[in-house]
């Protein structure tokens, strides 16, 4: 490391060539400052202007970014023309190809990397300096990807943790059928409703409505660490987020995507007492505070209610029927979207047909599987150890799914099912979707579609349509989407089985489906400097960590990729949803955190 006037210098490396104060043997290379034209450039936003007569000015939408251009002027010095030519050769070898530019800040022991798409070299004629003093001036122009990145890869893996407990132990904490133990928040009032306790807003409530429940005797949650609350709102415009709870005065961790519909259209939200120390190990729950936040709560007292129907503790995490479908959530670091790799592996079991779906999760309760959202009249369900949802049902019977609208972010959804037909005949699957308002009335347009395909005798995953949801604009975000599904043909009169139905939001989400067969690992790899496009690999060797280990047999599953998504991670929370035939596979992501210009880690 060079020290200049007592200051420790970092480095600027183009590939493996030092530019800041480099050179070797007979020549030296020195990068010059911004007086000479040094410039890190900026990501160039692609803005599309749409003219509209509705407002002054145009609506401008940023669609993405174009490459940034980095300019580094360098001065090359040497004692003789041969050494100068050698320096030029060394410089030129790093150019006009994909490469990396690594700026190292010695003070902070961290580096920013620009991924160079291509580059060029321009010589600058400098008042006969090249003749008189044996100096050469060049401007290196680097066309880089718009966002810079950290130097080191971030790797995270979670293990799905195998099968859930064989049976559920659920203990009701409160049925909320009288006001005993309930107390209002600040100036709100309590109402003992029909099967619920409601907090009604007061004159100076602000944007929250909430209430407290004091348990008659503190409950131990050692064997029942999960708490779910069945709740609803009335007369609240534009909910922000969902229900928040505090256990014993400490914020509790909400199991984000898990929300389902309980009887009476209450929304069931899950919380984990074991996380974030809201209840220490062996501890008890004595007080639960619940509240919701609204963007615009009426200032009229008595308008705006939070209704609690039931509070229950259970040993069953809100799983998705079986551990063959897994939702994992990962925080994504950085300030700009990153290209990420997703890795799915199981030490023992083959993955079979595997589906990987990723989407930003910061804004939503959204989770793709729908079986748990079936409502009456329910088709008869058969417990199945091979079904990813844990159950199968006859698709010829009408299936009605009722999905809370707040768990479906506005977008375009792919409808996928996992199903089979014992006689492998051609069958038609039809669906409709309509909005149900908080009063329970079906409102707005009915979207519908159908899809016919030759079925397989074995369980298969396939798409049956796409739909824009919600079907009607709802200002409050309250209400439900009712999705109806049915196999409308009965060709061959066999024994068809429906395992699961999924809704995959695809405007922001990415979906990849690979028939991984007997392989036990699946990699969805992000684009790299050397290979500027994503790739998919299946491999069987199971030793090694998420990304390392024996990878000699990793191959592209040619002809076996049914859907190919480009998985990019937005800063914030990222949700990775995996369906495979292996129980409890480990799911990992790795990515380089991306930054506007300077990396922070």
């Amino acid at each position: 490391m060079t020290t200049l006037a007592g200051f420790e210098l970092g480095s600027v490396m183009l590939g493996d060539l030092e530019l800041l104060r480099g050179g070797e043997g007979a020549f030296a290379i020195e990068a010059l400052g911004s007086d000479s034209g040094y410039d890190l450039g900026n990501a160039d936003p692609i803005e599309v202007a749409l003219q509209t007569l509705l407002q002054e000015g145009a609506v401008v939408v940023t669609q993405g970014h174009n490459n940034r251009e980095v300019v580094i002027p360098v001065l090359v010095k040497a004692g003789d023309p041969v050494a100068l030519a050698e320096a030029e050769q060394r410089l030129f070898l790093q150019l006009e190809r994909r490469n990396t530019l690594t700026m190292r800040y010695a003070e902070y022991d961290l580096s920013t990397v620009f991924e160079v798409v291509t580059s060029s070299l321009a010589q600058v004629t400098d008042d006969f300096a090249e003749v008189k003093r044996g100096e050469r001036r060049y401007n290196i122009r680097l066309v880089c990807e718009p966002a810079s990145r950290s130097e080191s890869l971030v790797e995270v893996e979670i293990s799905a943790g195998g099968e859930p407990p064989a049976s559920e132990t659920a203990v009701v904490i409160s049925e909320a059928d009288d006001l005993t133990g309930w107390s209002p928040r600040s100036d709100e009032t309590l109402v003992d409703g029909d099967g619920y306790v409601a907090a009604v807003n007061g004159p100076s409530t602000g944007n929250y409505v909430g209430l407290d429940y004091q348990l008659p005797t503190p409950a131990s949650v050692g064997t029942t660490p999960y708490i779910y609350v069945e709740w609803a709102t009335a007369d609240i415009d534009t909910l922000v987020g969902g229900l928040q709870i505090r256990i014993n005065g400490i914020n509790s961790y909400r199991l984000s995507p898990f929300v389902s519909v309980a009887a009476g259209d209450y929304i069931r939200s899950y919380f984990n007492t074991a996380d974030y120390n809201s209840v220490p190990p062996g501890g008890t729950v004595s007080n639960i505070h619940m509240d919701v936040r609204a963007a615009l709560l009426s200032s009229t007292p008595g308008v705006g209610q939070l209704r609690i129907n039931r509070i229950v503790r259970t040993n069953m995490a809100p799983i998705l029927g079986s551990a063959r479908q897994v939702t994992a959530q990962f925080p994504v670091l950085g300030s700009a979207p990153a290209q990420g790799s997703v890795r799915v592996r199981h030490p023992l079991t083959q993955l079979g047909k595997t589906l990987v779906y990723t989407r930003a999760a910061s804004d939503t309760y959204y989770n793709p599987p729908m079986r748990e959202k079936l409502v009456s009249p329910k088709p008869a369900e058969t417990v199945s150890s091979s079904a990813v949802s844990g159950k199968t049902s006859d698709p010829r019977v009408l299936h009605i799914f009722r999905v809370p609208a707040l768990s479906l972010p506005e977008g375009t959804y792919d409808i996928w099912i996992r199903a089979r037909d014992s006689n492998a005949m051609e069958q038609t699957f039809a669906w409709t979707a309509q909005h149900i308002d908080p009063n329970g009335d079906a409102v707005g347009p009915v979207e519908s579609g159908s899809h016919t395909r030759a079925m397989s005798g074995a369980m298969d995953l396939f798409n049956i349509g796409q739909v824009r949801l919600p079907t009607v604009k709802s200002r409050s975000g309250a209400g439900f989407v009712r999705l109806e599904f049915q196999q409308t043909t009965n060709n061959g009169a066999g024994a068809p089985e429906l395992d699961e139905l999924w809704l995959f939001e695809k405007q922001r989400g990415a979906l990849t489906v690979v028939r991984a067969g007997n392989k036990r690992r699946l990699w969805l790899e992000a684009a790299t400097v050397d290979r500027p496009r994503p790739a998919i690999y299946i491999l069987d060797k199971t030793n090694g960590s998420v990304s390392t280990g024996n990878t000699a047999d990793a191959i592209y599953p040619a002809g076996l990729v049914d859907a190919f998504g480009e998985h990019r991670f937005e800063p914030g929370l990222m949700s990775v949803f995996v369906v495979s035939e292996a129980t409890g596979p480990a799911v990992g992501i790795d990515y380089y955190p991306r930054w506007h210009t300077h990396a922070a880690l």
Binding site: V48, L50, T52, L53, L54, V59, V61, Q63, G64, P337, A360, E410, G411, T412, D414, W416, H435, G444, P445, V446, E447, S448, T452, N463, G465, Q466, R468, P470, T471, V472, K473, F504, K506, Q507, R508, G509, A510, L511, V513, P532, R533, P534, A535, I536, Y556, A558, G559, V561, D562, A563, F564, G565, E566, R568, E570
Partner: protein, 380 residues
């Protein structure tokens, strides 16, 4: 906010997994006339100076997927190789009909047919790659005659005209005969917010009455047939709302080369031509719309990719564009074509009945008309 891109599969393999990069994707879907469904797709791809990408060859299959859903299928046209890149266009599945004759079997001993189900079934056995639905007519175009061989697309178009329908082939190769929507059904329509678009009217395609010259089905040869006229609406009927607004204009159409027909069918043809082409003036322009301007019937902002994949054949209600005839503050048009391109992520919509305005468009229309005429001859 990151948006996902549709993914392209060429020759059965994903282009994104290929050695070379691709981009500049655009695709369109149409609703007719002249057949509808997946229409065109194009993209550019980098290429080596020294070798051609073996995947990019004429007639390779091309499929576009959005999420996990196939939204477009067709065949590559002849790639344009240039230094370091290749530009590729593809045409949709319905265009395959142009390469098939209307035979009733799978070899040259088979006879000509004018029954769409028979002709399509036989073409499927010769490799057409479509499938039939119950909406496809299973009756002859002209009962009791032996036919010349037509191209499959002209036979389908002739039947569509006769039935007052349109024929489309979707991304799964499913052939369907469909009827134009007349009122917005809640699910099958879109709306624009007022101020987003305007719509010009062109009366050059307008007529208040269609007079069709035809040969009445009669024993004997066509030259002995009886030449007759059919009109729709009837020439002496009271003026309808369009005639009251735009005046009395008669258009004559010679359908004598389409063989003898009954008075009823001739009137049906005149009615179809009137209702689909002449009844109201044409439109002069299409629209380029973003997600904010174009809403679903439920008032939800749209996804341009999904609109391009699904909108043709659906009704579009243009708020803020008054209808001069119906005196409504909005105008309803049927979407004839929708196109999406990656550079702007907007959707281009063309209304049904848009009038050709440039010389090139007019010329193109003439070519399409001359190619698409259904012909029949009679032998005793």
């Amino acid at each position: 906010m990151l948006l996902s891109s549709p993914q392209l599969m060429v020759g059965g393999e994903w282009l994104t997994a290929d050695e070379y990069s691709w981009g500049d994707l655009s695709f369109s879907r149409s609703y007719g006339p002249g057949g509808g469904g997946c229409k065109e797709l194009s993209f550019r791809m980098t290429s080596s100076f020294l070798a051609r990408n073996p995947r990019i060859v004429s007639n390779a299959s091309a499929m576009l997927f959005y999420g996990g859903r196939r939204i477009w299928s067709g065949d590559l046209q002849d790639p344009e190789w240039q230094a370091g890149e290749v530009t590729v266009a593809a045409t949709g599945l319905f265009r395959r009909a142009e390469g098939y004759a209307t035979l009733d079997g799978d070899d040259e001993t088979s006879d000509a047919t004018d029954v769409p189900t028979i002709a399509v079934d036989a073409a499927i056995s010769r490799g057409l790659g479509w499938s039939l639905t119950s909406s496809v007519p299973n009756t002859p175009y002209t009962p009791g005659t032996t036919q010349t061989i037509n191209r499959l697309n002209t036979l389908l178009e002739a039947h569509a005209v006769k039935l007052g329908q349109r024929w489309t082939v979707d991304q799964f190769g499913v052939l369907e005969f469909v009827t134009d929507p007349t009122a917005p059904t809640k699910s099958a329509s879109y709306e624009t917010i007022p101020g987003a678009v305007n719509l010009g009217i062109a009366r050059e395609s307008y007529a208040s009455h269609v007079i069709l010259r035809y040969i009445l089905s009669a024993p004997g040869l066509p030259e002995d047939g009886d030449y007759r006229n059919a009109a729709y609406p009837s020439l002496d009927s009271p003026a309808n709302e369009y005639e009251q607004r735009y005046g009395h204009v008669e258009v004559t159409i010679d359908a004598t080369d389409q063989g003898p027909t009954t008075a009823l069918v001739a009137t049906q043809k005149a009615q179809y031509l009137y209702e689909t082409s002449y009844q109201r003036p044409g439109w002069t322009n299409g629209f380029e719309l973003g997600p904010i301007d174009l809403l679903t019937a439920g008032g939800v902002e749209t996804d341009p990719v999904q609109v391009a994949a699904e909108a043709p054949g659906k009704l579009l209600r243009l708020h803020g564009v008054p209808d001069e005839v119906k005196f409504t503050p909005y105008t309803d048009v049927v979407i004839a074509e929708a196109g999406w391109s990656a550079d702007s992520n907007t959707v281009r919509l063309t209304p049904l009945g848009m009038v050709a305005r440039s010389a090139t468009d007019v010329f193109q229309e003439l070519i399409e008309k001359s190619n698409g005429t259904y012909r029949t001859t009679i032998s005793s």
